[in-house]
């Protein structure tokens, strides 16, 4: 799975931090120059892009969310010094490098399809009904190369064309929906929306039902635990505490 491989591509190769192989060293006071939307700023050499923007005094409104790499709010494009390539990263987890020129993407326009997850079928028909744009894919692999999570985006787009919902679910499991792939896609596909749809189809229609869950839900609905609850809730703190510390553990 894509996520498991090293993500060094997202930390710039020109970063002194990654060159020395450590983010810990005495470089804590060392500064580098980065260009935040074109404006030069001196920032700590060990900063993340988000840390650098804030160090420069910006109050981020769009462009910060969980700050730990889960939510995809902080999609960023940048160029490193002496490097012609446009690179992509999450501002919260990508380290700065000297001479980096960067801009955050405040939001990526994309039209979400409206659907009823109950009535869609977990096969190619669902993709045809919701995101037919998927079939425009020219397999250029730009999406995969632009993914800060190292997800094999193009591979799941191919799976979508085949209607292989389980494969999309597996390949896109760790998508954070930052939108960088759809911004770079020459076929204008909205990949993260397809990934969300596929996971929901998998959970609703393909995941095997748990028989014991159904039994437990029924037992609750029938009031099977009423008496036990009433008894526990009536206990004073002392006896409740005794009961708690005496309980057995699996």
């Amino acid at each position: 799975m894509g996520i498991a491989k090293s993500a060094s591509a997202t930390a710039t190769s020109s970063s002194p931090v990654t060159q020395s192989g450590a983010a810990h060293d005495t470089a804590i006071d060392r500064k580098v120059t980065v260009y935040v939307m074109g404006k030069a700023c001196e920032v700590p050499a060990t900063a993340t892009i988000m840390g650098a923007i804030e160090y420069a005094g910006h109050q981020i409104i769009r462009g910060a969310g969980c700050r730990e790499g889960y939510c995809g709010a902080c999609a960023t494009i940048y160029r490193a010094a002496g490097d012609y390539k446009i690179r992509t990263g999450l501002a919260c987890t990508t380290l700065v490098g000297d001479g980096m020129v960067l801009a955050q993407i405040p939001s990526v326009p994309a039209e979400k399809a409206i659907y009823d997850i109950e009535t869609l079928r977990p096969n190619v028909s669902a993709i045809q009904q919701t995101y037919p744009v998927v079939f425009r894919c020219v397999a250029c692999n730009t999406c995969t190369r632009s993914c800060p999570q190292d997800i094999r985006v193009m591979d799941y787009v191919q799976a979508a064309k085949r209607g292989d919902i389980a494969a999309i679910t597996e390949l896109s499991y760790y998508c954070v929906a930052c939108g960088l792939c759809m911004l770079r896609c020459p076929a204008e596909i909205t990949q993260p929306l397809v990934a969300t749809l596929a996971k929901r189809l998998y959970g609703r229609h393909l995941s095997k039902n748990s028989p014991e869950l159904a039994v437990r839900v029924r037992a609750v609905a029938e009031g099977s635990y009423n008496a036990e609850y009433v008894e526990l809730m009536a206990l004073g703190r002392e006896s409740l505490s005794d009961r708690y510390y005496a309980r057995d553990s699996e």
């Binding site: 997202t10 005094g57 409104i61 996971k199 959970g203 995941s207 748990s210 014991e212 526990l232 699996e250």
Partner: protein
């Protein structure tokens, strides 16, 4: 990559590993769990809540005279953003049956249930994007008693013992009894639960559980559930209107003392909007970004306790706001990951906290406050910690031992997100431990509710982390994901029921004038304007230059935010 000076300690962790893995394979605990007295001693001595200046009496409002967390008391004794005479309540900009403040897990659940069960339209107003919430970030799991060896009342006993018996019983019953149905409801919406081959749900232990009942979606349960809920909300634009970057800053009341909506603030245009609503749900989450006692936090950017402030000014009673949850295992190295959550599932799967000599010093699955206090004790008193170059101190969380217990490849598959996260800094958690220290994680208390999510103010409902009473003074792992689902749904249900029968009177903001009077009478001098909305991470010298602005001009957002902790780097956590 760890600095050279840590090498010897890392070697000791490896040396002791096989013996500790041997213990891990047995059914007995790897280290003796604490009894009630030992628990109390470690809390009294080392939990940050028990430091002398950690709490103080609040001087105004419904909880006046009660001892609260100092930063919370500061927050409550502050000024409103609004000049009430400038607000025209006679022509609301938006009118709705149901206003939901907050677009995280609880807010989205409330909107969906209001729509699906009661046919009620709602407006979700949220500060950042929908889903920008702590709900998105939970990693390890959700508790639900679904196994044949387990039962909802057993879940009740675990939760109430973990909360030191302070939890409100009716809320714990609702939490634990609704849980199995929540699992099913989420699956119907398309959440992909981790399962065994036969379809039964995969269950693990968490801190304080006596049965394996931690359900999971690998290490991404928050994103899995949150993205599903958001997607479903967006499937119904005719029923649920989402207003992003539009936080509420005050509640509106009516002439009969009922909640009647809120004032929203546009983060972009800095305008205020009047929303008249028959019933209102606060689902604004917690307060990690207040960085209580200078601690790093696991929380999302917007976790600034906004709901507490609004509700308190309107007269709502708070419960257990003297209690803060520090997650035992926040990252302490590298600095770029400082405070980041390392899921408790690591310990549920057999991971062990060990000191600099590679020795166990605590049972790995104590309830969170106990585990966190034991780690602080090991670092601060027993000299078992390692100092990172940033000055942060920590102990090791032995992750590779999990592969030794469960077989190679387990860590890379089940903790893929953490593996990825640390590989960026050339630390391979399948081979090396993680340096950890407790990190500010959860608001245990909040606005007091009953099992219908009602508060002492008619028309005001609260759900999720913003509420108080469900978890007593300490929440167990996996009960917050459950909390926002159970009480988010309940809030949607009961707020809709209420909206269907209420006739609102004249709208008013007189509670804000009353609040200002109280501040003056108590001779409280505060420059703080709240809700905070967003924290500022500008360096101190930048803040100083920003504060040269004339206070009479329109409030530029960054200036206001700076007023809390102009020097936010308090020393304790370092």
């Amino acid at each position: 990559m760890y600095p050279e000076y840590m090498a010897e300690s890392l070697r000791k962790v490896i040396q002791t590993r096989s013996k500790r893995a041997e213990l891990g394979r047995k059914s007995e605990p790897v280290y003796a769990p604490m009894n009630a007295n030992e628990r109390q001693a470690v809390l009294d001595g080392f939990h940050p809540d028990f430091k002398p200046d950690a709490r103080r009496a609040v001087r105004i409002g419904p909880n006046r005279g009660e001892i609260l967390t100092t930063e919370v008391a500061d927050l409550l004794e502050s000024h409103s953003w609004l000049r009430t005479e400038q607000v025209d309540l006679s022509k609301p900009d938006i009118e709705t049956d149901l206003l939901i403040i907050g677009g995280g897990g609880a807010g989205c659940s409330a909107a969906l249930v209001a729509m699906k069960e009661r046919g009620i339209r709602s407006v979700i107003a949220t500060k950042l994007r929908i889903g920008d919430a702590n709900s998105m970030m939970s990693e390890g799991g959700m508790q639900a008693a679904v196994s044949p060896t387990d039962s909802p009342p057993r879940h009740y006993l675990d939760a109430i013992g973990g909360g030191h018996f302070a939890n409100k019983p009716e809320l714990v019953r609702a939490l634990t009894e609704d849980a199995p149905r929540v699992v099913q409801w989420l699956e119907e919406l398309g959440v992909v639960w981790d399962k065994q081959v036969d379809g039964s749900l995969q269950v693990l232990h968490g801190g304080g559980t006596s049965r394996k009942r931690m359900l999971s979606c690998r290490d991404h349960i928050g994103a899995m559930i949150m993205r599903t809920l958001m997607d479903e909300v967006r499937n119904h634009p005719d029923m649920i209107t989402v207003k992003e970057f539009m936080p509420a800053v005050e509640l509106i009341m009516d002439s009969e003392g009922r909640c009647a909506g809120a004032i929203l603030y546009s983060m972009d245009s800095e305008e205020f909007f009047v929303v008249k609503a028959k019933s209102t749900v606060i689902a604004t989450g917690g307060f990690g970004r207040l960085h209580i006692r200078g601690f790093d936090t696991t929380n999302h950017y917007g976790a600034t306790g906004d709901g507490l402030v609004m509700a308190y000014r309107a007269g709502a009673k708070l419960l257990y706001m003297d209690s803060v949850q520090y997650h035992p295992t926040g990252a302490a190295f590298p600095e770029q990951l400082a405070g980041f959550l390392i899921t408790e599932k690591v310990r549920g799967a057999g991971g062990q906290p060990v000191n600099k000599d590679g020795e166990l010093f605590v049972f790995p699955r104590e309830p969170r406050d106990i585990e966190a206090s034991a780690i602080i004790r090991e670092c601060r008193q027993n000299g078992g910690g390692i100092e990172a170059p940033s000055g942060r101190i920590g102990v090791w969380l032995d992750v590779p031992i999990i592969d030794e217990i469960h077989g190679a490849g387990y860590v890379a598959h089940h903790f893929a997100a953490h593996h990825h996260q640390f590989m960026r800094y050339k630390i391979d958690i399948t081979k090396e431990p993680i340096l950890i220290y407790p990190s500010l994680h959860y608001q245990n208390g909040g606005v007091e509710i009953n099992a219908r999510c009602e508060t002492n103010i008619p028309g005001l409902f609260v759900a999720g982390e913003a509420s108080g009473g469900v978890h007593g003074r300490n929440r167990l792992m996996g009960n917050s994901v459950l909390d926002y689902n159970v009480f988010g749904q309940r809030a949607g249900r009961y707020a809709s029921e209420y909206a269907a029968q209420v006739e609102l009177g004249r709208l008013t903001l007189s509670h804000l004038d009353k609040h200002e009077k109280e501040l003056a009478q108590a001779e409280i001098q505060s420059t703080l304007v709240t809700p905070i909305l967003l924290p500022s991470y500008a360096p101190a010298e930048v803040k100083k230059r920003q504060l040269a602005r004339n206070a009479q001009t329109l409030p530029g957002s960054s200036v206001l935010h700076n007023r809390l902790h102009a020097d936010s780097q308090r020393a304790e956590a370092k």
